[in-house]
């Protein structure tokens, strides 16, 4: 893609004082709108995505914390399940997100409490380009994988309607040689005559995901903006079997169904010295798990049919006042009422108030402070404070030094409290304290730009909630004394224009994550103290190299995930106590052409280029080399010359 190089010089926004953020480039999101968000996150952010494969549960671990320690907001409403506390990123098509912001660590307190690892902000954005725009993307990939995305925008002077429809389906039955098991052949007398590793297909991995998003945006010249949006998800997925399963498809089958609805309505008024905002949101989900087995009669009979529902209503008010260029004061007030059926019913009401002051003391020095207070089911939480500082060290290179000290806490999920058996209504809130420092730089020449950031963090989290097994055969939620999470995040991006239509870019990151259980041993036999939390890799890295020449572009992605322990004592002598590290290589090539009526873009992709065998979770097979081809068509008709010019720039992307 070709983008005119634009030199930008500005002070960092007041909202960025002292915090570490990653803004995922809009062009990146729009370049592969059919990919699930989990793939975009894994390749372009320092979040570690734990996934069981395509269209399986994909959760985020941020700075060594658990999935429920990453708060996720969609257009300002939290979409974490009040039941499990986590978000399944495999259910979010990246084409439904126009802007993604990652708030690392302590930066999350700007948005809410509970983001011990960080917070993800997923937003859609109106364009208000008068006219009509239609986009359609069709992708066909290996294993009978089909992805479609259709988008229609209709804009008047001050009103815009945006409709997006995404459909993904696949047999997902990739073939592999199963080295984890053998087939044994015996003669009629029972003598073993042969054994071999079977060539199998991934079984029960088929899926069909439908997503529909409808939005209306309205603005006035007086600075009022009204937004209405509703996002419907309908997902049907098989539950893939492990590669040590000796049952065949005639003996067992499992199905997972999710229907969810998220809706948000907001009114915002922008004024000369501030803004105010009112928002209400709805987040509901109906989840079903069903299992069929052969009862010995050769027929599949349903044995399990489990249903869980949750609903969550959010009210949010926000005000911001900036009497001078150097000082901004914000206040927020939120309430969230959640209910679950699991199958018994439980409710919770959480209220939150925060006040946030940002002050630029000098041209180089900025400071911010937050105080947040919550009331959960009538119980006050401790006031959570945060202090942020940043200092411009060297202006020519844009070198900024940041530091922060942030408190945080997270209340148990409704599942932690009430799931039967094992829920623990006596759980304490988790409490955290994070110290962080970072240095970033950004400089550019006429034809090149370089930016980067290195951050160090140190978090102590007390009363971490963990599910542990019991003698009685079920697991129960307990508070463990202390987890020490510390590490580093390094990221860099460079870009150079080598010709009138040629550009080369390189970006990457590396994370070092230590998440250490520092709780006292439960018994003399317990060797988990001082060990890494399970399934948290110490090292992860990603590198993306891209080149664009005229209408052609190509990219090469390299991804590395280090070893992960599966036992709390990290004992490598124990069989299956670790998941092997792996490297993955993906390449894409695309060609875009602009027509009078719009544009077309064709994209070829090869994933797992070197056909590596790897597991992200023990005993879950992953596909070898696989291919995809995608065609994107855009049609636009504008009523305004300036909108057309803006569109030309975007069409050429």
């Amino acid at each position: 893609m070709n983008i005119d190089t634009v030199a930008v010089t500005a002070h960092s926004p007041m909202t960025q004082i002292g915090i570490t953020t990653t803004i995922v480039d809009t062009t990146l999101l729009r370049s592969n709108p059919i990919a699930p968000l989990s793939e975009i996150l894994a390749q372009n952010t320092t979040l570690f995505i734990k996934s069981y494969g395509r269209a399986t549960l994909s959760t985020a671990s941020f700075r060594g914390t658990s999935p429920s320690h990453t708060q996720v907001f969609w257009n300002g409403i939290r979409i974490n399940s009040p039941l499990l506390g986590m978000v399944d990123f495999s259910m979010i098509p990246s084409g439904f997100v126009d802007r993604m912001t990652v708030l690392h660590g302590g930066a999350s307190l700007q948005q809410s409490s509970g983001g011990m690892g960080g917070t993800l902000l997923l937003d859609t954005q109106p364009l208000f380009r008068r006219g009509a725009e239609i986009r359609y993307v069709q992708s066909i990939g290996s294993f009978a994988t089909f992805d479609e995305l259709a988008e229609i925008r209709l804009s008047g002077n001050n009103l815009e309607s945006s409709t997006r429809l995404s459909l993904a389906s696949s047999r997902n039955d990739f073939r592999y040689t199963n080295l984890r098991k053998k087939i044994y052949i015996n003669d009629d007398e029972g003598n073993l005559v042969d054994s071999y590793h079977p060539v199998e297909r991934n079984r029960n991995g088929e899926f069909r995901d439908l997503n529909l998003l409808q939005e209306f945006n309205f603005r006035t010249h007086g600075g009022n903006r009204i937004s209405l949006g509703a996002w419907l998800t309908d997902s049907q997925r098989g539950v893939p079997v492990m590669n040590i399963d000796y049952r065949d498809s005639n003996t067992s089958k499992a199905l997972s169904e999710v229907r969810s609805l998220r809706a948000v309505a907001s009114w915002e008024r922008l004024m000369t010295n501030g803004k105010c905002l009112l928002r209400t949101g709805w987040n509901s989900s109906d989840m079903r798990y069903a299992y069929w087995g052969d009862m010995g009669d050769g027929n599949l009979t349903q044995m399990i049919d489990s249903r869980t529902l949750f609903n969550s209503l959010t009210l949010h008010a926000e005000g911001e006042w900036a009497p001078t260029e150097k000082f901004v004061l914000s206040a927020t007030l939120s309430a969230e009422a959640s209910g679950v059926e699991m199958p018994e019913r439980h409710h919770r009401i959480e209220s939150s108030a925060a006040i946030w002051a940002r002050y630029r003391l000098s041209e180089r020095l900025g400071a911010a402070a937050i105080a947040r207070q919550e009331l959960i089911d009538g119980h006050w939480s401790p006031t959570v404070p945060a202090l942020y500082l940043d200092y411009l060290l060297f202006r020519p290179w844009g070198v900024v030094l940041k530091a922060s000290a942030v408190g945080n806490f997270r209340s148990p999920t409704l599942n932690d409290l009430y799931y039967q058996p094992g829920g623990n209504p006596n759980l304490s809130n988790e409490r955290g304290l994070t110290f962080e420092t970072a240095v970033g730089l950004s400089f550019e020449g006429r034809r090149w730009s370089i930016s980067g950031e290195a951050a160090l963090y140190d978090s102590q989290i007390r009363d971490w909630i963990l599910w542990l097994g019991t003698q009685r055969g079920f697991w129960t939620a307990v508070n463990i004394e202390r987890v020490h999470s510390y590490g580093a995040e390094l990221k860099a991006h460079g870009q150079v224009v080598v010709g009138p239509n040629t550009k080369i870019s390189l970006s990457g990151f590396h994370t070092i994550t230590h998440a250490i259980n520092n709780s006292a041993p439960s018994s003399a036999a317990d060797r988990s103290q001082g060990k890494q939390i399970v399934y948290i890799p110490v090292h992860t890295s990603a590198l993306t190299a891209g080149i664009s020449i005229g209408n052609w572009s190509a990219s090469y992605k390299w991804n590395h995930v280090g070893e992960r322990f599966t036992t709390t004592n990290n004992d490598v002598a124990t069989l299956y106590s670790r998941v092997e590290p792996y490297f993955l290589n993906d390449i894409t090539a695309s060609y875009a052409h602009t027509f009078r009526w719009g544009s077309a873009n064709i994209r070829l992709g090869v994933n797992n280029l070197f056909d590596r065998y790897y597991e992200t979770v023990l005993f879950r097979p992953m596909p070898g080399r696989n291919y995809s081809i995608a065609l994107e068509l855009r049609w636009k008709k504008f009523n305004n010359i300036s909108d057309k010019r803006q569109n030309q720039s975007e069409l050429s992307r």
């Binding site: 399963d245 010995g296 097994g469 003698q471 439960s522 988990s528 004992d571 299956y576 023990l618």
Partner: protein, 357 residues
């Protein structure tokens, strides 16, 4: 009565998988688990692993030398044991290992642990009971049927429907019949006539009969855990230990524990005189006692005790400690006089023992 263990093995096999084998597999774009030395020995420790983790293993332990090999099945066969190893028994020079959530029973040579055959496509197998040289039963957690197989050819030959009882667990040979405990959300013991492979009667016991043993007087002892947790839709009552007379098929004696107690993993010594079970430690009770013991004979405060076994050869007691259920487990070996003898570090969630005499 357990299946009789007839195999004698004194031979210790030590094998080392060559590094080149691992490299060959890697060049074939795949990897196999690490393959340590193998030995076959007198005690097999079943390490259940975690459900849906696939990390079940088997530890082989030689009590005479104190040698052990973890991951012995994987070492002998080059493949994973599977997801949730549930039970193991040895009959007529063949070991039968039931791997519950992999839907398979492996038949192995008890001397080498090498697989001789397998019975696959089972729904949720739990226990294997050899009825005769040509017939065996496999109980199941979900299938509402007991699978009938030939233990020599490893072929399925039929099934015994357990109508009204979705699950069956431990089985026990009592005279000419087979008792099958319906332990999941149920309160019955089914009586099966193996000559016709059919359920012919049932005995009502306490909620969730999880263990059964036969004493030297031919009485059946049945441990019922009472539901295990408050709020169990199947019910919640005090655990009970019940003694059944097989002739009358009636409960003769009942010992009731306190509501909220957790009592599990009952076993009996080779003489059929003393039963052992987990209840805040390891407790031992003579079959003639009029009440359960007030205190455990082995008390390990705060430990995650998950299994107990008694060596029929010498009455040594083996206690399995799962610690926190997500790390390497421990096995503590005591002699018959309760003196500590050895401590083993084993796989994840050691849950049971199989003794090869």
């Amino acid at each position: 009565m357990k299946n009789s263990c007839t195999a004698n093995f004194k031979r210790v096999i030590v094998g080392v998988w060559s590094l080149s084998a691992l490299l060959f597999v890697a060049c074939n774009n795949g990897k196999t688990p690490e393959q340590p030395d193998t030995i076959s020995s007198g005690v097999y420790v079943l390490c259940e692993g975690n459900y849906m983790f696939g990390n079940a293993t088997l530890t082989a332990y030689d009590p005479s030398s104190g040698t052990q090999v973890n991951g012995a099945f994987a070492s002998a066969n080059g493949i994973a044991l599977g997801d949730v190893v549930q039970s193991m028994c040895i009959y007529n020079k063949t070991g039968y290992i039931v791997v519950n959530n992999s839907g398979v029973v492996f038949a192995v040579d008890p001397a080498t642990l090498e697989v001789k055959g397998s019975i696959t496509s089972l729904v949720s197998p739990r226990h294997f009971m050899v009825v005769s040289d040509t017939k065996a039963y496999i109980s199941d957690l979900r299938a509402a049927a007991i699978t009938v197989v030939n233990p020599r050819t490893y072929k399925k030959s039929g099934s015994i429907p357990t109508v009204g009882h979705p699950s069956t667990e431990q089985m026990l040979r009592v005279g000419s019949t087979i008792y099958a405990a319906c332990a999941s959300s149920d309160n019955k013991i089914l009586i099966i006539d193996p000559t016709v492979d059919a359920v012919v009667d049932s005995i009502e016991v306490g909620l969730q009969p999880v263990s059964m043993v036969l004493d030297k007087d031919g009485k059946v002892w049945c441990l019922c855990d009472g539901g295990g947790w408050e709020g169990n839709p199947a019910g919640y009552e005090a655990p009970r230990l019940m003694v059944i007379d097989p002739d009358s098929r009636a409960v003769e004696r009942t010992f009731t524990f306190a509501l909220g107690d957790y009592v599990s993993k009952m076993t009996i010594d080779a003489a059929g005189e003393r039963i052992y079970y987990l209840h805040g430690g390891v407790r031992r009770m003579n079959i003639t006692d009029t009440r359960p013991p007030a205190e455990p004979i082995i008390s390990i405060e705060g430990y995650g005790l998950y299994g107990v076994g008694v060596d029929p050869a010498n009455s040594d007691i083996y206690v399995a400690d799962a610690v926190d259920y997500t790390q390497s487990g421990k096995v503590y070996r005591y002699d018959a006089d309760l003196n500590p003898v050895d401590t083993l570090t084993v796989g994840i969630n050691p849950c049971g023992f199989c003794f090869n005499e």
